[in-house]
Amino acid sequence: MTATLTRGAERIHAAFDRAKEEGRAAFMPFMTAGYPSAEEFPAVVDTLLAHADLLEVGIPYSDPLGDGPTVQRASEQALAGGTSTRRTLALVKDLRERHDTPIVVMTYVNPIYAVGPREFMRLCKDAGVDGLILPDLPPDQDLEIADLAAEHGLAVTFLIAPTSTPGRVRLVADACTGFLYAVSVTGVTGAREGSALGEVPAMLALAREHARVPVAVGFGVKDAATAHQVARVADGVVVGSAFINAVREGQDVGTLAASIAEGCRR
């Protein structure tokens, strides 16, 4: 596997390695492309990128069934503003001209099929995307997508959940070339009350046995404290809904990002 690492996978792994050397879990903020508008999105993301080790950009989708209300409403607003698949990749291309941080694109499968898997991968490569996160694609559903991604230099990330059986953890871990994404709770995305660790420790132990890629944890991380809980056990910390909420409520996204990045120190 390591012999055939794609350019995207190498860049993603390097970002995790750098963070680790500095005694941190990699900090991965997520933002829905075109939110709050296509015009304001680049500035929001510039602020996040000042603190991020990797960036996740979501393609807004009409029916995001793995997402909670926060991301869903952000998607609706972005779509209403005219941001969809091609426009998202154009936004990423612009970001790429200003930043070297690895960028992974989160997308449901239907936009990939609609554009055509090969064409979609070509557009991603053109835009400088390093990897894909596929929340509604268990790796055994479509073997072609991962192959096409690799062909275009992209890494792929699939998800495991607290309900995953040992056999599933192994299967999913094997399929990931970027990083493995462990969902902290049985549930959809969204900032929630209480610990973000949920059922993570047991799942993570299992994941680490199998994964040859870094393991990141997401869903429910919302501040420095929850980020710190996760950072102690994971290689990376994903934070999405908290930033979307901050943008919506007009809070200072930079301050929140700085504090969560600090929370990622071990």
Binding site: D63, G66, S84, Y108, N110
Partner: protein, 425 residues
């Protein structure tokens, strides 16, 4: 009544019907789908489960439903004999109850005390709430705000039955969004919740399981038709298709027969204001292959994969996709799918009501419309069976509104004509 649940050659081991179907869902649900599949296979082979379901079908639902020769409709059409498979006789008013009772029994078997469901027209919601009341389960039904407004009576029935109806205001506030919300609930509460899915859609094993539970419709037709016509297969079967469960229920027992023995199987899709208008729910005629609610199927979606909101006069057909097995039937020529518009359905509803004294659901009226056309094409030697999936009680308020609008429009047109005449004079 002893029941056997059928086994068909499709789907394959991965839940695929050709290239359709599958399991495109968050990983959280995959173990639950595996668990469901195993529980279903075990139940299917368990006489206790089959006896209980058979008893409920007979004593609670009122099965078998009659196969009725619609003589006056046949005379009117002037061609093939038209039989109606009277699923409108079922308790709660539609075929939906077959599937709901079966899934609720399965939930009990699996030790789940909480069931959730999605509903558009409210028929599946009412059936789920009914099954939950019967078996003592907690029930939450997701329903779009728009449909809550259109189907107030069914909302009240669900609440009366003890179900909680949760209003969905995301997206387009209709069935597809209610389904998203039900799936999100399931993702969150998957360990103790059973999702009663309402049609032959969703991730595997749902399309196969719902088909098997609805196949009782076609199995009964085989026996009933043998008695009245001396043959178990008609020349054609017509059924309306939203997600496609009533249609698959009557098609499947015939679909896997060798080509020469297989009747023509015809699904009517809701063409709304016309497939060309863009305001329709005809996923096959006006959509293309995509993924929604966990399965690959024909789908109304734009060239970047965003789901296009469907439109139909009937809330039960107002769904942007169509079950994967239908998609496979279509690609392999096993079944045909034809569009029927809102206006044609409304016309057929009035026709059947006047000629036979049967007020069909607006969904079923789509099938009736095509059957009259087809009868003329097949000629007097032919035999057609129409699946009358439900009764029209839930639709009468909407039909009244539509017919009054039509009449007002007529009056308006006459006014305009008069004014023009006056001006010209």
């Amino acid at each position: 009544m002893s029941l056997t649940l059928p086994s068909y050659p499709q789907p394959d081991g991965r839940g695929r019907y050709g290239r359709f179907g599958g399991r495109y869902v968050p990983e959280t649900l995959i173990p639950a789908l595996d668990e469901l599949e195993a529980a279903y296979q075990a139940a299917k082979a368990d006489p206790a489960f089959l006896n209980e379901l058979g008893r409920l079908f007979k004593e609670f639902v009122g099965r078998p439903s009659p196969l009725y020769l619609a003589q006056r409709l046949t005379d009117h059409a002037g061609g093939a004999k038209i039989y109606l498979k009277r699923e409108d006789f079922n308790y709660t008013g539609a075929h939906k109850i077959n599937n709901c009772l079966a899934q609720a029994l399965l939930a009990v078997r699996m030790g789940k005390r909480r069931v959730i469901a999605e509903t558009g027209a409210g028929q599946h919601g009412v059936a789920s709430a009914t099954a939950a009341a019967l078996l003592g389960l907690d029930c939450v039904v997701y329903m779009g705000a728009e449909d809550i407004r259109r189907q107030a009576l069914n909302v009240f029935r669900m609440r009366l039955l003890g179900a909680e109806v949760r209003e969905v205001t995301s997206g387009t506030s209709t069935l597809k969004d209610a389904t998203n919300e039900a799936i999100r609930d399931w993702v969150t509460n998957v360990r103790d919740t059973f999702y009663i899915l309402g049609s032959v859609v969703g991730p595997h094993p749902y399309p196969a399981m719902v088909r098997d539970f609805q196949a009782v419709i076609g199995e009964e037709v085989k026996v009933q038709l043998q008695v009245v016509e001396g043959r178990s297969a008609p020349d054609a079967i017509v059924a309306c298709v939203g997600g496609g469960s009533n249609a698959i229920g009557i098609f499947a027992p015939y679909a896997y027969l060798p080509e020469g023995e297989r009747p023509r199987l015809i699904g009517t899709e809701a063409a709304g204001e016309g497939v060309e208008s863009g305001r329709h729910a005809a996923s096959m005629a006006g959509g293309r292959v995509g993924v929604l609610h966990g399965s690959m199927m024909y789908l109304l979606n734009d060239d970047e994969g965003q789901i296009v909101p469907p439109h139909s006069i009937s809330a039960g057909l107002d769904y942007p996709g169509i079950g994967p097995e239908h998609c496979h039937y279509s690609e392999t020529g096993v079944a045909e799918y034809v569009p029927v518009t809102d206006a044609q359905a409304l016309e057929a509803l009035q026709l059947l009501t006047r000629l036979e004294g049967i007020i069909p659901a607006l969904e079923s009226a789509h099938a009736v419309y095509h059957a009259v056309r087809l009868a003329q094409e097949l000629g007097p030697e032919g035999v057609i069976v129409v699946n009358l999936s439900g009764r029209g009680d839930k639709d009468v308020a909407e039909v009244m509104r539509l017919l009054e609008m039509e009449r007002d429009q007529d009056l308006l047109d006459k006014d305009v004509e008069r004014v023009i005449e006056e001006v010209v004079a």
